[in-house]
């Protein structure tokens, strides 16, 4: 970072950071303490609503093999759906951006399609691929990812600075070059914000899709069967694993975003 203003020293900056994040750390500690003692002991919250934190951690440790195996199965479903759905969506957006009137006319319908409870279609995809196939979950995750990525990519491709396009035209750039040098780069922030949303949706699609069938070891099945057997700590541990996976998936996309958008003001401001 090169700047003419006097930069605060490293210690000063560290101190600022600590002061800024201190409340979050305190809340984290208080939250854990409440989970461990206040809720079960003082408020009498029963195990079937929220088991004690230490019980959940114990379940997490004791059943780590089962949980990790399930997590891996479910993650593969989510990731497959994410790649498939986002890939098809980006390709479709590129096509629709070439035929603007067509894309504009379809836009409201694509947005409305996003309001369809797609996970509710899991029983149908099970009928398509067979109850035990991972493909039903991949399909659900892919369709969940498809619409937000399509809408946002199209929005990004079409909301470019008209002056840049005009400049390109004045250099006699072909439509293809305009796409490569202007439209696609300036659509990237939109694409990545959609991909971040899609990473969450893919996880939801995979875990919740598991509830309707599939490999008996998948993470969603662990949640459900543990609830049925009243092993509440195990199901919370599985939820915890799913949450950590969700955060990691989201974080990975965010990291790629920061790398791909190094040149973009929104990223540079943050660093």
């Amino acid at each position: 970072m090169s700047t003419v203003e006097p930069t605060p020293t490293a210690t000063q900056r560290l101190g600022e950071q600590i002061r800024y994040w201190l409340p979050a750390v305190v809340v984290f500690g208080l939250g854990l303490a409440a989970w461990e003692w206040l809720l079960p002991d003082v408020l009498g919250v029963e195990e079937f609503l929220l088991p004690r934190f230490s019980d959940v951690v114990q379940a997490l440790v004791e059943e780590r093999d089962e949980l990790l195996r399930g997590a891996w199965i479910t993650f593969k479903e989510a990731f497959g759906g994410f790649v498939l759905g986002s890939g098809v969506a980006i390709a479709a957006a590129l096509v629709l951006a070439r035929w603007r009137p067509f894309g504009n006319a379809l836009m409201p319908y694509m947005i409305a399609a996003n309001a369809i409870p797609i996970i509710a279609f899991a029983p149908i995809t099970n009928a398509w691929f067979g109850l035990l196939s991972p493909w039903s979950k991949v399909t659900i995750a892919a369709v969940l990812c498809f619409f937000p990525v399509l809408v946002n990519t199209l929005r990004g491709l079409t909301s470019v600075d008209p002056e840049s396009v005009e400049l390109m035209r004045s250099y006699a750039a072909s439509e293809r070059d305009v796409f490569r040098r202007v439209r696609i780069p300036s659509s990237l922030p939109y694409v990545f914000s959609a991909l971040k949303v899609a990473s969450v949706l893919a996880m939801i699609g995979a875990v919740v899709g598991d509830y309707f069938g599939g490999s008996l070891e998948a993470l969603g099945i662990v949640v459900l069967s543990a609830v049925n057997l009243s092993r509440y700590s195990t199901s919370w541990a599985a939820i915890l694993v799913a949450s950590i996976m969700g955060i990691a998936f989201y974080g990975a996309v965010a990291l790629v975003e920061r790398y791909a958008l190094r040149w973009h003001p929104s990223v540079q401001r943050r660093t």
């Binding site: 409340p23 309001a115 509710a120 009928a127 969450v200 875990v207 609830v227």
Partner: protein, 282 residues
């Protein structure tokens, strides 16, 4: 005006026709060539679109025609989703307002509310619905639709809180300074400046939450085997899918309409409340 409406109607019909053609064309091509990738197409896996519509006139085991049965189920699901949505939205909004007033609280809580947006909280549905079924309030567990609406409300609560805070903090600094220079009180600044400038953000969250609450209600019903709603109907018809696949398709068709309906209601409310043209006009 009339021309615009006419154009919209024509587009709508074209889209509908296009979808129908895609559906039937896909079915025809895959059946004709007997392709089994990605899945084998026949009347069981992909019934004719018109056959699904005609199925609505058939009577179900309850004695009602399917269309009426599904409307009852949709209303049950809609009630859970709407109550949960309203509750979550109100609580989320007020929490957002409180957190913006107290910066320490905001810094303490905001990271976790944001993190909630990156984890599959819908996956909690079975635990929450079953768990609440074991609670006793006044001698009996809460009614089924209340347990389901809890899911809809927490799915609504988190995005509304996040976006309320973002929106309230997005108020134009010049306008804020102007208000201060008139010695406007905090309350006035909040209602006259901050809340109006937060509305577009809040509606973005509400649109996401509208769909999520319908999804939450359906998944909640399914994982707890509550049979009166669309989720229950999906489970039930799924069991008899081999005998009559069209019932399940029709139920999912209603679920889709319910989700879109919720979304459109919020969209309409946005158009009424937010006078400035929203940037993402549908």
């Amino acid at each position: 005006m009339a021309a615009r409406v006419g154009k919209r109607v024509v587009t709508f019909l074209l889209v509908l026709g296009g979808l129908w053609a895609l559906w039937e064309g896909y079915k025809w091509l895959w059946e004709r060539t007997a392709w089994s990738k990605p899945f084998r197409v026949d009347d069981l896996t992909l019934p004719h679109a018109h056959a699904i519509l005609l199925q609505l006139g058939e009577s179900t085991s309850t004695g009602d025609d399917l269309w009426l049965f599904l409307i009852r189920a949709a209303l049950f699901t809609a009630k859970s989703a709407a109550v949960g949505f309203a509750f979550g939205a109100v609580v989320g909004f007020f929490l957002g307002v409180v957190l913006v007033q107290f910066d320490v609280l905001r810094r303490g809580i905001m990271p976790y509310v944001v993190a909630s947006q990156t984890i599959p909280i819908l996956a909690l549905a079975p635990i929450v619905v079953r768990g609440l079924g074991s609670v006793s309030i006044g001698g009996s567990p809460p009614p089924d639709w209340v347990r389901v609406s809890v899911i809809a409300s927490y799915l609504t609560f988190f995005p509304v809180t996040v976006n309320t805070i973002r929106g309230l903090r997005s108020a134009d600094p010049w306008a804020l300074e102007l208000m201060h220079s008139y010695a406007a009180r905090g309350w006035t600044v909040l209602w006259k400046l901050r809340v109006p400038s937060a509305l577009p953000y809040i509606f973005t969250a509400l649109k996401i939450a509208a769909t999520a609450s319908v999804v939450g209600a359906i998944i909640g019903e399914q994982t707890a085997s509550i049979s009166n709603g669309l989720g229950g109907a999906i489970l039930n018809f799924n069991q008899y899918y081999v005998l009559e696949p069209k019932n399940l398709w029709a139920t999912n068709f209603y679920a889709a309409l319910l989700g879109i309906g919720f979304f459109l209601v919020v969209l309409l409310a946005e158009k009424v409340v937010v006078h400035r043209a929203p940037e993402r006009l549908v």
